[in-house]
Structure formats: structure tokens, C-alpha cells
């Protein structure tokens, strides 16, 4: 069961804040994060990795990206 975060259209640090909130909430499993800039893609990836999560996959999705983050 994966949850998702939609951070499209939001500028930094919102996508990172939202992702970290979700990470705190679910603790492990999978999270889908939608972002619309390369900057947000990099920032979210860096933040997830700093919390011991992995960036499993990154897809181009519409005008941005879908990141699949996972742990456990």
C-alpha cells in the first residue's frame, strides 16, 4: 500500500517538508511523490536519502516527475 504526496506547483522547501511529513507518518513502505521541477526532484531525493529511504524509481509524469520512495 503506497501513499502519495502531490507537491506540483509548490516551490522549495514545501515539497521536502511534505515528503518528510509523510515519511514520519508512514515510517516504512512506499511513497509516491509528484513534483514539477528538477530542483524539487533533487531536493526530495536528497531529503529522503538523508532519512534512510531509497529513491527506487523516477518516472517522467506529465509536466514533471513521479518519484517512488521506499523503505523496509
Amino acid at each position: 500500500m503506497s501513499t502519495h504526496v502531490d507537491a506540483r506547483g509548490l516551490s522549495c522547501p514545501q515539497p521536502v517538508l511534505m515528503t518528510l511529513d509523510e515519511i514520519k507518518k508512514v515510517r516504512q513502505g512506499e511513497i509516491e511523490v509528484f513534483v514539477d521541477t528538477d530542483t524539487s526532484k533533487e531536493n526530495v531525493s536528497r531529503a529522503a536519502e538523508s532519512q534512510g529511504w531509497q529513491v527506487k524509481e523516477i518516472f517522467e509524469a506529465g509536466e514533471g516527475y513521479k518519484l517512488i520512495l521506499g523503505k523496509g
Binding site: L10, C12, L17, D36, A47, S50
Partner: protein, 364 residues
């Protein structure tokens, strides 16, 4: 291409970009820019406001090519790596006001975060108060961010919207070429030029433009941001951007030592005053305004170059804010704060608090 793309987002990428900016900022000073002002985004936008007559402070009027280069360099980088995305609609009026007050605060201290660290690298002890104020202001901003402060989402728009600020910058460059500086004259055509003071000190146009383009390109790739450096550390304990900023200080310091530009002390520093409380207070206002707007003044220029129309509005707010700042006697001088500088800081802080407290989205 993608390897290069990834490199700039790495630790060594951001450290390299910080080093590049530090070295060339110190060299720009050697090549003619004012003391400890190799690059100052606030001061240079203020000089541009003077060049087009939005204020008539005779000593700070010059169309700074570095600013033009920052926007156009970022535009080139964004197109080269397919990152140009025209977007608007995240509370532009708020960004305008934040830009204006960020500028007003920075001009009480006499420098933006970029110049604050360059002043430190040049030995100016007053910068310590400014940087402390900056961090304090950003810290207040992080409290708002933690409590749901959010200016809302942007939406995609016509590509040409994202081109507007770059076109304005091209227009400024064209004006400089059509109305070049005439030695000893305060005006050339419709442009104003300082004949003395900091506005009269500048590196040659082509050198300043090329350095500006290079910095704009590299900063777009690396997301270099002087406010984000402190914000990310305070919010997430992440030191990525901070490493870039530290690298800037270290390399500017080394070059200053080599070329004889390091003069430690508090008194008689170039384009600086020693009123500690207001160095701190001015930068608290600037730091809070930058944090609420999501980027330092340089980052706003780079974002505007990659199509962010809201960042472009912030930039215009800064230029207009500089006009108010000098017209209303709010800007400092080496003699100390202006007659209305203290009132401006208080009003600016109240405005930022109003924005921070009232623009919260509980569900975000």
C-alpha cells in the same frame, strides 16, 4: 549531459560553484567593483534603480551588467538542460511586497546575503552582525514554514510569460550600449551614471557581463542559494547548500589575501557602518523576507531566468523597493542608518509577520 546535470547537484558540484563565485567576486572587486562588493545582488539592483531614475541618489546609479548576466545565464542553462518552465500564480503581490522589504532591510545593513559573506571574507567585522541578523530572520521564517505558511501553487503558463524578465534585462543591456557612460557626465541619454561613490566603481562592462553569465549558468544548475543554505540547515539539518556558501567565503577570503583586499576591523570598512543593532535588524528583515519568498535575491534572479514569473515579480519588487528606500531616506550610508531606516525596519518586520501569520494552509 545527464552526468554533468547530476554533478552540479552533488556535494562537490555545489562546493565548486561556491568557489567559482567566491573567486570571481573577489576578482570583480580587483577589476573595479566597490570594496567588498564584487557581487551584491541588492546593491546592484539598487544601482539599476538609480540608473533608470527610480531614485536620484547620485552615488549609486549604474546599470550593473552582473544582474543582467545572472538572469540570462540562468535562461541559457535552463534551455540547455530542458528545464525552462514558464509558471506563475503563487501570490505575486505578496512576492512584490516581500521583494521591496527585503531590499529595504538589506539597504539598512548595506548588502544582501551575498555581500554580507563577501564583507566577512574581506575582513569587515560588521558583517558578523549582519549575518547573525540574517540567520535570525531566516529562523523566524522556518517557524512559519513549520506551521503551514505557504504561498500556494504556481500553474504552467505561456512560454513567453517566462521570457518577460529576461527580455527586460536584454532591454537594459541595449540601453547601456545605446547610451554608454561618458567620462565625468552624470547622464547619457536617458540613463543616469554616478561620477563618484560606489556607483562610479565598476569592472569593465564585458567582464562584468561574462562573469554574470557564468555565475547565472552555474547557479541555475546547482540551485545555489544563500538563504536556502541557512534555511535547510535550520529546518532539516541539511548542509548541502551551506557547503556552497562556506566554499564561497573561503575562496573569496583566499583571493582577497592574495590580491591584498583583506583588511580586518570594524571601523572605516568600505560602504559599511558600525551601528551593530541596525546591521542586525536590517538583515533580520531581509532574511525573513527572503525566507518567506523562498529564495535569496540571487536565487530569485536565477528562478526568473528559468521561467518563474513570481520570482520575476520579487525582482521587480526589489528594484522598486530600492527606489522607495533612497527616496524616503531609509537606506543607510557609511555615516549610519538613514533618518527613516529604523521605522522602515519596524514596518517591514510587522508586514512580514502579518504575511507569515495569515498565509497559512493547514492542510498543506
Amino acid at each position: 549531459m545527464s552526468q554533468l546535470k547530476n554533478f552540479f547537484a552533488t556535494k562537490w558540484g555545489i562546493i565548486g560553484v561556491g568557489a567559482f563565485i567566491g573567486v570571481f567576486a573577489a576578482l570583480l572587486q580587483k577589476w573595479g567593483n566597490p570594496g567588498n562588493m564584487g557581487i551584491c545582488v541588492a546593491c546592484f539592483n539598487r544601482d539599476i534603480a538609480g540608473a533608470v531614475g527610480l531614485h536620484r541618489a547620485a552615488v549609486v546609479q549604474y546599470m550593473r551588467p552582473e544582474i543582467i548576466g545572472f538572469v540570462l545565464g540562468s535562461l541559457i542553462a535552463a534551455y540547455s538542460f530542458k528545464e525552462f518552465r514558464a509558471r506563475v500564480g503563487s501570490a505575486p503581490i505578496v512576492r512584490f511586497i516581500l521583494g521591496a522589504f527585503a531590499m529595504i532591510g538589506a539597504l539598512v545593513f548595506l548588502g544582501c546575503p551575498w555581500r554580507a559573506v563577501l564583507r566577512l571574507a574581506g575582513g569587515d567585522g560588521n558583517a558578523i552582525l549582519g549575518i547573525a541578523g540574517l540567520i535570525f530572520g531566516i529562523w523566524i521564517g522556518t517557524l512559519f514554514l513549520k506551521n503551514g505558511y505557504n504561498l500556494g501553487r504556481t500553474t504552467k503558463t505561456y512560454t513567453s510569460v517566462g521570457w518577460l524578465l529576461p527580455i527586460v534585462m536584454l532591454g537594459f543591456l541595449a540601453l547601456m550600449l545605446v547610451y554608454p557612460q561618458i567620462d565625468g557626465k552624470p547622464q547619457s541619454g536617458i540613463l543616469f551614471y554616478s561620477v563618484e561613490g560606489p556607483g562610479a566603481m565598476h569592472a569593465p562592462l564585458i567582464v562584468a557581463l561574462l562573469v554574470g553569465l557564468a555565475v547565472g549558468f552555474l547557479a541555475q544548475r546547482s540551485r545555489f542559494c544563500t538563504m536556502g543554505a541557512f534555511r535547510d540547515f535550520l529546518l532539516f539539518r541539511q548542509n548541502h547548500l551551506l557547503l556552497g556558501l562556506i566554499s564561497l567565503v573561503v575562496f573569496a577570503f583566499i583571493v582577497n589575501l592574495i590580491v591584498g583586499q583583506f583588511h580586518p576591523g570594524f571601523a572605516k570598512q568600505p560602504v559599511a557602518h558600525t551601528m551593530h543593532l541596525w546591521n542586525f535588524g536590517g538583515m533580520t528583515l531581509a532574511g525573513l523576507a527572503f525566507a518567506l519568498a523562498g529564495g535569496c535575491p540571487g536565487r530569485q534572479l536565477f528562478l526568473a531566468g528559468e521561467g518563474d514569473g513570481d520570482a520575476a515579480v520579487f525582482v521587480l519588487g526589489m528594484i522598486v523597493g530600492a527606489g522607495f528606500s533612497h527616496n524616503f531616506g531609509m537606506a543607510s550610508s557609511p555615516n549610519g542608518v538613514g533618518p527613516h531606516g529604523i521605522a522602515a525596519v519596524v514596518i517591514g518586520l510587522l508586514t512580514c509577520l502579518f504575511i507569515g501569520f495569515t498565509m497559512r494552509n493547514k492542510s498543506a
